[in-house]
């Protein structure tokens, strides 16, 4: 018997409800007002009164309005047809909603997340008498470029015997594909789709592994120096206008993963539109099909109700975990986790909880940690591996990283790509600060080599601050050359032109190749007799490398520039110091 209740208080998007019967925390209920059913979630239980956050505008709710409870937790539907969809934070398909309800998001309007009419070509992979447990594969359907496996629902905890399974053929989502029997003789139907509560991590795997393999983003600065591993986590904090969203968009296009889930959480709607209009036109180089076919967009922009913003990141990560269960590599990009944290803060304020720093709730850190911990590389029970990588942007107030959300995030992520206002003002993109940022993962290039290059950058930085005091005149020629080397590394390797068709995405082979070329300059002792000469030489070299970066990999132009660069360097190179020579010999 489902419980019911009536509204006894309204405060912003929080309502207080008096209930009769049993309810559970995070249970979904509907507040019925003006003939509309408004989805809500129980966030606190106190005697026979519960507090619910309403995922809609609460205008018009009055004392005494009835509330219907569902006995279900806030859940998403998992099954074929998720790819290419655009959902709001509660998995409402937005394009369908637009068709039904017009331009505006009318409240109380919910549609099926997955089409119930579409037919899928099913191939069974179990037979009668087989033994299965949760998340085991009973068959598959093709979904875009992928084989979408039909899994035993994650909520079935026993060991089951397959009683019957449908033969190969076309079926709808609602059809029963198999019947399985538990040890007590109860029979459960397995359909193509099932529900899973968003706030519970999916743990149907054999073990979690340490993320080691780099997730290539085709951004040089990231892959070479600040790598992200498949199954790892990273964050991108930055002030407004520093290019967080652009960096996320580039990553969503070029990242070497199977599936990308974009969670636009509390940000501008206009940015999502760019992705929406652009992706169907772009091709995924791996599969040759539209990028949209490997993408899911969860779009809960800043003007949409704040409670569903809080839910949206969980919706996104649950979908990611679902595809991980099929042995796929999934990347979740959350933009921005600060808006999510602010949604928690708003709710916490309404609940009159004792506030922590900057009025964020005391559980901010553990909640952020819990979210990022849902990433990971896992070994499934049948030995395959799958991963969920999470990259979250953070929008710190005033661009100051010493604030609770940035700090709580930095504690739990494996890589930190801090964007700097100075770099973006100087139009140095990507504006990731190469010295402040860090990564704990292994990249595509030998660590000793990148360390060598890093040291040159550090030294160049020191020299630069010194030069500000003593002027160029007071700097020795040697130091000046070191400084120029650092500048060259920055301008020709760290910076990347995302508008250039070639330079926008650089394959790992090319990165390794070009990095070695850079190392030739960085390790060389150069025959430059004056600062003027050094400046001119480095300017010319920089221009050459920039042109080289802009020419197609292994094209004639590319080879031509390379020859020019090599002879240009050879011209002035005296020798390479021994340590560096040993390093260069390593491969």
């Amino acid at each position: 018997m489902k419980s019911s209740g009536k509204v006894v208080g309204v405060n912003g998007n929080m309502v207080t409800v008096e209930v009769t019967g049993a309810v559970q925390l995070n249970e979904v209920g509907y507040v019925v007002t003006e003939g509309k059913r408004l989805k809500s979630e129980i966030i606190r239980v106190n005697g026979d009164r519960v507090q619910m956050q309403v995922f809609e505008i609460t205008k018009g709710i009055g004392i005494g309005d009835p509330v219907e409870f569902t006995e279900d937790l806030l859940a998403v539907e998992l099954g074929p047809g998720l790819l290419g969809q655009v959902y709001d934070g509660l998995q409402n398909p937005l394009p369908d909603l637009a068709k039904e309800a017009g331009h505006f998001l009318e409240r109380g309007f919910y549609l099926d997340p997955l089409s119930k009419d579409k037919e899928w070509e099913f191939t069974p992979s179990v037979k009668e008498g087989d033994s299965v447990v949760k998340a085991d594969v009973i068959g598959s359907v093709p979904e875009g470029p992928f084989t979408h496996q039909i899994l035993v629902p994650f909520s079935l905890l026993d060991t089951y015997t397959v009683k019957s399974v449908k033969p190969a053929g076309k079926y709808k989502l609602t059809d029963t594909m198999a019947e399985i029997e538990d040890s007590k003789g109860n029979v459960f139907p397995v359909k193509m789709s099932f529900q899973w509560p968003v706030k519970k991590a999916v743990t149907c795997y054999a073990e979690r592994l340490k993320p080691v393999e780099p997730m290539v983003t085709q951004v040089r600065l990231i892959d070479t120096f600040l790598p992200v591993a498949k199954g790892g986590t990273y964050c991108i904090p930055g002030p407004f206008g520093a290019g967080k969203t652009v960096l996320q968009q580039i990553t969503s296009k070029f990242a070497d993963v199977d599936i990308v889930i974009v969670a636009a959480c509390g940000e501008r709607a206009g940015e999502v539109v760019e992705t929406l209009k652009e992706f169907p036109e772009l091709l995924d180089p791996k599969t040759g099909r539209s990028l949209m076919e490997r993408t899911i967009i969860i779009c809960n922009t800043s003007s949409m109700p704040v409670a569903s913003r809080e839910a949206s990141v969980y919706t996104a990560v649950t979908l990611a975990e679902y595809y991980r269960q099929m042995g796929l590599d999934v990347l979740l990009l959350a933009d921005s986790t600060s808006r999510w944290a602010q949604a928690m803060r708003e709710m916490s304020g309404r609940l009159e909880e004792i506030p922590g720093e900057e009025a964020f709730p005391a559980y901010l850190e553990s909640t952020i940690a819990g979210f990022y911990e849902r990433a990971g590389l896992v070994k499934l029970r049948d030995g395959r591996q799958g991963s969920v990588t999470i990259g979250g942007t953070v929008s710190p107030a005033g661009g100051n990283f010493e604030e609770p959300v940035t700090q709580a995030t930095l504690k739990v992520v494996g890589a930190f790509h801090g964007l700097s206002r100075e770099r973006s003002d100087a139009r140095k993109y990507p504006a990731i600060h190469p010295i402040d940022s860090w990564s704990k993962y292994k990249g595509i290039i030998d660590v000793d080599k990148t360390e060598y290059a890093y040291n040159i950058l550090f030294r160049a930085n020191e020299i630069e601050s010194m030069m500000k005091v003593v002027g160029e005149e007071g700097t020795s020629l040697n130091d000046f050359i070191q400084f120029q080397k650092g500048e060259l590394l920055d301008a020709a390797y760290f910076q990347q032109n995302s508008f250039d068709p070639v330079d926008a995405a650089v394959s790992p082979e090319r990165q390794k190749y070009v990095f070695n070329l850079m190392m030739e300059v960085l390790t060389a002792e150069l025959d430059l007799s004056s600062k003027e000469e050094a400046r001119g030489w480095f300017n010319n070299l920089r221009q050459l490398i920039l042109d080289y970066n802009g020419s197609e990999w292994e094209s004639d132009g590319f080879k031509d520039y390379e020859a020019q660069i090599k002879s240009f360097i050879a011209d002035k190179k005296i020798r390479v110091d021994e340590k560096a020579a040993a390093l260069m010999a390593k491969n």
Binding site: G62, V86, F104, V272, T301, S302, S303, A343, E346, A359
Partner: protein, 431 residues
């Protein structure tokens, strides 16, 4: 017949509490006090305790005053009769025109479905070179003017209101000085733009609650006009006053403040207004130009900071000019490739040279020797500031581009400009 309640339990700031039943969240009520009637809005329900925010403020309310619930939320009349009219934050006439009651619409409606948005594609011409040429305003964009107090931001808004190529202007004034209100009214009247303008004005002397209503009323009306196919430009000045009004009310309601006293939902509140900017496929559009004054000229202050995360760029008003470096129109790339071939190149080229001029200026002020190049730059910078940046310059984009070329030609040789040879051949002034 609706019930009248005549026992007010508490009066705290602008918020009163009465015991009543049947009230809905967000509904309006009318309070009759000895100073006249005022509207109030339900902001909290707790059993039979109803908290109301009184538009006219809590002063002068007696515990024995009558409260009558109207049974509907805040509404505003929408029709073509709005054109040329001036109202206050409650939607009552401020001019001597009649009260409008027909075709009432609710304010603060639902948000636009992101799936139905389109990529903006039309430029809005303003006749101001620093906008048209360097940071083009795009239809459906939301842009604030970040400004220190004392800068001529209202003059700038009034000029844009008079010159912008739009069908309809809605001016939302929040916490305006009375003089500024008169300035807007007179300027638009003299400029002949009043007939296509509707104003919702809250002056600094009016009750603070009315200030909160101004953006919602303005945008609700704008939305209806846009759905009728009109290109609407909404001017909001000053959003910092709006945020301060929210702060004041949040604090009197004992909400936990987050940053410098502002409520924790400042971002969401600002975003839900700015996100009303939209280009409706096959219909009209809403473009929002707001003013955000920066207390202490500090861009990290919560109001400009949160605004910056929401809007699509910003114009920095400094020393009476739109600063080329901090200013940014994030959408300009969508339109400035279709205006004239030289637009983008000239925009980048002139700004780079102006940046070089700033360096030379610094060198000069430190007493270094000026090279020939420095002298050229100094000449260029002075002309750039006078003929491009000065707010009194009023010229269409094409003229501004031509003028840009003639400034370059008079200050530099062709190859010193760093522009593409093909463009120079085409546009360099002859003779």
């Amino acid at each position: 017949m609706r019930k009248v309640y005549s026992k007010i339990d508490s009066i705290v700031g602008n918020v009163i509490t009465v015991k009543a039943d049947g009230a809905k969240y967000g509904d309006l009520a009318e309070i009759s006090t000895s100073f006249g009637d005022s509207l109030a809005e339900v902001i909290k329900l707790d059993d039979d305790n109803v908290s109301l925010q009184v538009f006219a403020g809590g002063r002068g309310i007696s515990t024995g005053d009558e409260v009558r619930f109207l049974g509907h939320p805040m509404m505003v009349s929408f029709s073509d009769n709005l054109m040329g009219r001036i109202f206050n934050g409650s939607g009552e006439p401020r001019d001597n025109g009649p009260t409008l009651n027909e075709n009432l619409i609710t304010i603060g409606g639902p948000s636009f479905n992101p799936a139905n948005r389109i990529i903006p594609k039309n430029m809005i011409r303003t006749g101001i070179p620093m906008i048209d040429l360097f940071n083009t305003l795009v239809e459906s964009q939301k842009l604030p003017i970040f400004s220190a107090s004392g800068e001529p931001y209202n003059e700038l808004l009034a000029r844009i209101a008079m010159q912008a190529e739009v069908d309809m202007i809605i001016l939302g004034g929040m916490g305006l000085k009375y003089d500024d209100y008169l300035f807007f009214r007179d300027t638009l009247e003299e400029g002949g733009a009043l007939s296509r303008t509707t104003m919702f004005i809250h002056t600094a002397a009016d009750p603070v609650v009315e200030c909160l209503m101004v953006p919602d009323i303005s945008l609700a009306v704008a939305e209806k006009f846009a759905l009728q196919g009109k290109k609407v430009l909404v001017l909001l000045t000053d959003m910092t006053n709006f945020a301060d009004a929210m702060k004041e009310i949040a604090i009197t309601q004992e909400q936990v403040p987050s940053n410098r006293g502002y409520p924790g939902d400042l971002y969401s509140q600002l975003a839900s207004r700015y996100e009303k900017a939209v280009d409706i496929a096959g219909s009209g559009s809403i473009t929002i130009l707001g003013v955000t004054t920066m207390p202490g000229d500090d861009v990290t202050h919560p109001v400009p900071d949160n605004t910056g995360y929401i809007t699509e760029g910003q114009y920095y008003l400094k020393n009476g000019r739109i600063e080329p470096f901090g200013s940014l129109s994030r959408l300009k790339q969508q339109v400035n490739d279709r205006t004239r071939d030289d637009h983008r190149a000239l925009m980048d080229g002139m700004i780079k040279l102006y940046a070089a001029y700033k360096d030379s200026l610094e060198k000069q002020s430190m007493g270094f020797n000026m090279s020939d190049w420095d002298t050229k730059l100094l000449k260029y910078g002075a002309r750039f500031e006078a003929e491009m940046m000065d707010l009194s310059v009023n010229t269409p984009l094409e003229k501004a581009l031509d003028n840009g070329w003639s400034i370059l030609a008079e200050c530099f040789n062709r190859e010193e400009t760093g522009l593409k040879t093909s463009l120079i051949d085409q546009f360099w002034p002859k003779g």
